[in-house]
């Protein structure tokens, strides 16, 4: 049996005695007899570390690790620099709690302040919080920020990631907010539909760019239309793409959110990830979650502290802007280390490689008879109509070590490339597809 209790049974008995008790049961005198677990837990006995290590390694071995990955759709395979892993495994960062005691938490607080700054730089927004759970919950929380008594309906573009939509829908089920879907046209948000709608009760429109199909939305026109209706625009963005594309701040979004996983976090079967959230200055006090602010100590020294806590649940309880307490602080730090290691030039290089590889892949697929489903400009993902059954193709590619694009229909596949893919790898993929099609 494993245990992390320092004291031996003898020591514990002596401690028990010192407080005037004679059995461990006495500690639990308040628990009614009939509520006590009589026969103990029906679980296996504990294991030594070696056994645990063996078992977990064996279990992890039951997963298929693909050497070649062409799938994205919300989780992206990017290079994680060694320094990122090393820094974020530092014991102090890993084991600390939320920095309530600022005097002994300056390292954490400063790292989040730096993270907030980088998110503002990336998104072009004024204010960032210290993270929420993932990109989808960030979108749902952003929607809640925009609601007021007059405008309570949430509108989501049909081109948003269906998982994000699902989360927004669940949050709306909670809050009772009506939810409407804005249709798409050729894979892009159909802003004409918006203009044709009665938008008087709509609090916000949520778009994603590049959207679920990989297409880059016309942020400026959408923002214009949304603002003309008196609603707010929430833009969910890919943080890598933000190094090159027009920022939500520039095209006029009120809240920018997104999935921070591409910024140095492993795919990890879906988590922990990182929801980033940034807004214009005037919405700052509606942001959910932690925000770190700069201040000074009694000696006038620059310092950092959790601030604007009057928004938060532990102060405002049922009137808080959100119930969030634990966020994804270490993931936020990971993103900050990643962005610092990459620098602007590095991040732009990653983004440019993502785009170039996607176009090369598209070109090669096209030569094999694949066609694009949509025509718009895209970042690093695109949907093809395959000249074969997509699921069958995916399975055959898997057998060759290729994680194909995501099957999104009978003959549809959503492909993704990143800087991790190389020309020769793509050529390899194409060769296998050729074989499969033959």
């Amino acid at each position: 049996m494993g245990s992390y209790i320092p004291s031996t049974r003898e020591e514990r008995l002596s401690m028990l005695e010192s407080i005037g008790m004679h059995s461990f049961d006495e500690l639990y005198a308040d628990i009614p007899e009939d509520l006590r677990l009589k026969d103990g837990l029906s679980l296996p006995s504990g294991l030594s570390e070696l056994e645990v290590a063996r078992k977990i390694e064996e279990i992890s071995g039951k997963n298929t690790r693909f050497p070649h990955i062409f799938r994205g759709a919300g989780s992206y395979h990017h290079y994680i620099p060694a320094i990122v892993k090393q820094v974020t495994s530092k014991e102090e960062f890993v084991t600390a709690y939320t920095p309530y005691q600022a005097e002994i938490s300056q390292g954490l607080l400063q790292s989040i302040f730096e993270y907030q700054t980088m998110i503002c730089e990336l998104t072009g927004m004024d204010v960032s919080n210290a993270s929420v759970y993932d990109g989808a919950t960030a979108a749902a929380e952003a929607a809640a920020m925009c609601r007021d008594r007059k405008r309570g309906t949430i509108c989501v573009s049909a081109s948003v990631d269906p998982r994000t939509l699902s989360v927004i829908r669940t949050y709306c089920f909670g809050s009772g907010a009506p939810l409407v879907i804005l249709p798409e046209k050729d894979g892009l948000t159909d802003i004409d539909s918006w203009n044709a709608m009665d938008t008087s009760s709509i609090a916000c429109l949520i778009i994603q760019t590049p959207n679920y199909h990989g297409l880059i939305e016309d942020g400026a026109s959408i923002a214009n239309a949304v603002h003309n209706s008196g609603a707010r625009l929430i833009a969910s963005c890919n943080p890598i793409a933000l190094s090159l594309l027009e920022t939500p701040g520039e095209f006029g979004a009120d809240v920018a959110v997104g999935e921070g996983q591409p910024l140095g976090l492993p795919m990890g079967f879906g988590g922990p990830y990182l929801g980033f959230m940034a807004s214009t200055k005037d919405m700052m006090r509606k942001l959910p979650g932690r925000i770190v602010g700069q201040t000074t100590d009694v000696d006038g020294k620059r310092a950092y502290v959790l601030t604007l806590q009057a928004r938060e649940q532990h102060i405002r309880r049922e009137k808080a802007s959100s119930n969030i307490c634990s966020n994804e602080a270490l993931c936020a730090m990971t993103a900050a280390v990643y962005l610092s290691a990459m620098g602007s030039a590095g991040l732009e290089k990653v983004a440019a490689s993502c785009m170039a590889n996607a176009r090369y892949l598209l070109e090669q697929l096209t030569a094999l008879g694949f066609t694009r489903k949509y025509t718009g400009e895209f970042f690093h993902e695109f949907v093809t109509i395959c000249p074969c059954d997509a699921a069958v193709l995916s399975e055959k590619l898997a057998a060759h070590g290729y994680l194909s694009g995501l099957v999104t229909g009978q003959s549809e596949m959503l492909w993704c490339t990143t800087e991790m893919n190389t020309k020769s790898e793509i050529d390899g993929l194409i060769a296998v597809i050729k074989e499969v099609l033959a």
């Binding site: 049996m1 494993g2 308040d30 009614p32 006590r36 837990l41 645990v52 390694e57 279990i59 997963n63 919300g74 989780s75 290079y79 620099p81 530092k90 102090e92 890993v94 084991t95 600390a96 709690y97 309530y100 005691q101 938490s105 300056q106 989040i112 907030q116 204010v127 960032s128 210290a130 759970y133 998982r163 989360v167 949050y171 089920f173 880059i216 400026a220 594309l245 795919m267 990890g268 922990p272 700069q294 000074t296 009694v298 604007l308 806590q309 649940q313 532990h314 309880r317 049922e318 119930n323 634990s326 602080a329 270490l330 610092s340 990459m342 590095g346 990653v350 490689s353 590889n357 970042f379």
Partner: protein
Amino acid sequence: MKLIFEMGAPGRGCDLIPPCTTPEVTVNVPMRKKALHLPEVSETELSRHYTDLAKQTHGVNDGFYPLGSCTMKYNPKINDAASLLPGFTNIHPLQDTRDVQGCLEVLSSIEKALCEITGMQACTLQPAAGAHGEFTGLLLIKAWHESRGDSKRTKIIVPDSAHGTNPASAAMANFDVVNIASDEHGCVDLEALKAAVGDDTAGLMLTNPNTVGLFDPNIAEITRIVHEAGGLCYYDGANLNAVMGVTRPGDMGFDVMHLNLHKTFSTPHGGGGPGSGPVACKDFLAQFLPGLRINEQADGSFTEETAAYTIGNVRSFSSNFLVVVRAFCYILTLGREGIPEAATTAVLNANYMMHKLAGHYKMAYDHTCMHEFVMTLEQEKHQRNVSALDIAKELLDHGIHPPTMYFPLIVHEALMIEPTETESRETLDEAVQIFLDVLAESEAHPEKMHEYPFKTPVRRLDEVGAARKPVVRYLYSNE
């Protein structure tokens, strides 16, 4: 200490990514106009910067961390190692079920273990944190009432001693919050509860042991009252570490609950997250669970399906998976004997410390505590103007992370101490001595108490100024 933006120089950086091997492209869409301004630092500078930041961060290994309600136990290293296995980290969440059998085994196994520990019948690992779990659990309650066409149940009863997340979660789920006062023991006032319940009661949210560290002896009666009124009972698992393997929320009559894997199951808290807040529930609520339900087949393989009346998803993918892996290893390690042993020792350690401090510090409730206890500095505040905060800040100079301050709200000048089971007797004894020394100091030099800490990287901060004129990002001087 410099910000990373104040370091480096234009053109510096790390060489991480090779030149692209496919032809360069341009896209015909609006590009960003304002140049992206990220740090330009070499790996030496970057690495030293975070080394400096780490030195100004207090983690569990830097000293005793009795932060009440947060269960800051030691974080075993084998769990971290397991979470770094490439067979977990390199798995795309949208791989075919066939290709993620290992991940599903982890999820399925821990779901079963959590059900056994909580006395529940179903579990989802999707929620990313405790508050996220609360929200999820409340949605299950909401969905259940709705499924029965019972639309008048709009109220959630929350004791005034509850964690702030409870009412906030209820509000997010669009419930009205009914606060009920605690009795003189810090427990639920049965009469107040009886008066509060009715046919508009959707449910009750309760922590037990409660936030003053006591196990509510009337717990069966409490859940009965709520059930009889047609409401459901939600258990806030924040304090589960006190009773795991000893008694079970399911057996107490709770219908749904969350667990904090980053508290009870020793996954590290990462300076504020990632955590993990699984929700466990009774059978009748399983049909509403979010995410994908995992089923073990006769051949030992795992399949996934959506629950019949699922509330949908509360985040994109399965779970904070790599956090879950850590907790899974922890449960494997402790097993059936180790889990109650951990709980009992946590309770013993708390009572041991309480016993040694009582007579010097005033206890908010003079009763055998569970895994934590609350002291009140009300008298010191009144007599000498020394507050709980002052005491806490002097503790910083002794290398101890202060207890939770000013919580629960029903205790004035509260300091809530949770030693956890992973501290040795020596550590507890040393901490007791420090607490006593600090109290003596506060008696001898009450005026000096407002000055502490002296030895920390920075001293007391201007929090009011920070909130009044928020500076929440660095601005480059040339902007």
